[in-house]
Amino acid sequence: MALYGWVGKILRVNLKNGRMNRADTMRYAKRLIGGRGVAAGIAWEEIPPGIDAFDPENKLIIMTGPLNGTLAPTSGGRITFAGVAPQAYPKPHYTRSNMGGYWGAELKYSGYDGLIIEGKASSPVYLWIKDGEAEIRDSRKLWGLDTFAAQKKLIKEHGEGVQTVCIGPAGENLVRIACVQHGIENAAGQGGFGAVMGSKNLKAITVKGSCGVPIARPEEFIEVCKYANRVAHTPEEPSEDSVLRRKACGMSCSLLGCGAGGLNIYRKVKGKAHPRLYTGAVQCASPAYLKFKPWKAGFEAAQLADMYGINHWEIVLGLTGTGQWLNKCVEKGIITEKDLGVPIDLESGTFWSELLRKIAYREGIGKVFAEGIPRAADIIGKGHEDSPHVAHGYETHWDGHLFGRPRYPYWIVAALQWAMDSRDPLVHCYAEEITYWTARPGSPVSIKQLKAIGKRLYGSELAVDPESNYEYKAQPTIWHQNRLAVDDSVPVCEEICPTIYSRISPDGFGDTSLEAKLFSAATGIDVSEGGLDLIGSRIYNLERAIMVHEGRTRRDDESVIPYFHRPDRAGIRLNVEKFGALMDEFYELRGWDPETGWPRRETLKKLDLKDVADELERIQRLPD
């Protein structure tokens, strides 16, 4: 049968012995679609539970989905990296990280839906894939180079149009907050997968191809894509000339006015720490660097973070900026100028350039910060009370506390999502798109429209009522968990999907069946919105099974409570008792045992995961 959307093969590469083989994508994709879903399927079967992130037995799973490489708005390059993550806390566990750009599309054009990287090479290598042919090549001449220099060198070697993901010195030096970098401002940031590549002696993966992605119903698909561009929600109307400076963050990102802002381009900015010109971009979290003084030195620091391959989020929402951890530690005398080894000037761009260098090369205090904030606090033995660490190894992210967004009661849903995930949950849709923008001037939907949306989507107005409390908060949590699993798998950028509201519809509703429309026309497999959400639930439960296999219990879920018990900006704390009851409600609605937090057999069976239930029973982690 002809295959549309997927290209059909996943390449497995063993770096220890150089062996490669090809797996059939559809063996996984029929149940789990692609991206995050298929990555979880592979991890469940192949990654030994409890393994360390830097163990050669750990695998780096890189997966696209059926919409990658296609015209579907924002889907083009969006790709999942997964495996046991060194950033995860208190010990490394399985999670995923998502990246935009062009590489994911080019991987499919090279003939593969995904890669499974196993083992550790005996000396530095990179992987070169072109039109189905793959080669493990010596990368000793690339080792030590920053991510921009390495990518330029690989373009020179393999020609214009190749796309690369690579690591910088941070990944090479096993910095737990090292990202996988691509282009100028795309990265798989969270998780520390750059360090996983470093632990495998894998500097880069360069791809190029001329294999197309066949589409089942081309003309219908083109129409759905044009419609998606029109209906998709944007928090603000883009100005005509924003396009001169703001660029798309990847292939097929044809929406203007994205909530994350797109790439803000700066050309030939003169550095202060180094005498050179920087051309690059900031977006999402990294514009925070521009607040350092002077802004040009801040821009330089942002570029250096990209070039060293350090996760921006850890710096500008953790160490400084919103998180302010270092600032508070300095204020309280926990960390001194002597510890830092540089004159303290937390507002200076050159200070941060120097600190980033120390982190990348694990020098002095950099060695401590290279462990990520929760481990750094443990090493120092102080400063926990000011830590922006929420849970699982990840810092503040749309949780309503340090960030101040969204406001109570909406952050209850964020707290519940944080509790259940293996990383910072991507709560943007509920916490940002729906409940944050609506309370601001120029809101795309009114509170009245919002309530109607809540009733229709989650079953009750209470789910979004600003006057509500803990009632009806598990339902939107589950709805978004399932849908995000779908959106990370088909994939489509979660800044636009689910399209819950729209500026162009008279009643404010968007079109939450957009993913189903795109998927059906692309693959020729007709699926409803509900059908996709069921698969989303399967993916979410499979990920939970991986966590349970690793030892996760309700107690780990509860690790979010101390953070949310801190007062938010309005002075409101999490009500621990009511939150406990909400967790009970959540587990029951999910079909998980409230005492252990483990999925029940009948829940897994209904989701076509009987084999998963059997395995959990074998290791005695299936509730009675």
């Binding site: 083009g76 100028i184 197309g212 203007l256």
Partner: protein, 140 residues
């Protein structure tokens, strides 16, 4: 004047949707390597450059074609390659002064003919999909 696509590369937002819709419309698959419009993106210089047939007034490709496969489509006012006549000799691609990177006029291995922009018979899909009005359809 002949109809053509004009581009303002400063306005290009780098999404490359034009490449994807072009290949999808003409070939039924998303494949930039087969697209008749291409965006060369140099991220490290933050520059984009588009490549598409300029619909020259006195086209070198037409003069080079030994079998007269390149003709004026009077209905739409543009020069097109008649695939049924093309012998895939490649002289047109050599003759085009803008085609040094083989991005405007090139061999399509699936159809075994040379192809270039045909303005989608007067309804160019790339112009429709372009979100930032970097591409413009100029009717002659």
């Amino acid at each position: 004047m002949i109809s053509r696509i004009e581009s303002d590369d400063e306005r290009c937002i780098w999404c490359r949707s034009c490449e994807l819709v072009c290949s999808l419309h003409h070939e039924g698959e998303c494949n930039p390597a087969f697209s008749r419009i291409r965006i060369s993106l140099n991220l490290f210089k933050s520059e984009a450059e588009s490549h598409v047939c300029k619909q020259c007034e006195d086209p070198e490709c037409l003069k080079a074609c030994p079998v007269e496969a390149i003709r004026m489509d009077e209905e739409n006012g543009i020069y097109i390659i008649l695939e049924s006549e093309c012998t895939a000799c490649g002289l047109c691609a050599e003759a085009c002064p803008y085609n040094s990177k083989k991005k405007i006029l090139f061999f399509n291995p699936a159809r075994k003919v040379y192809v270039k922009c045909d303005l989608c018979s007067g309804n160019p899909q790339c112009v429709q999909i372009c979100p930032s009005k970097a591409l413009r359809y100029v009717v002659g």
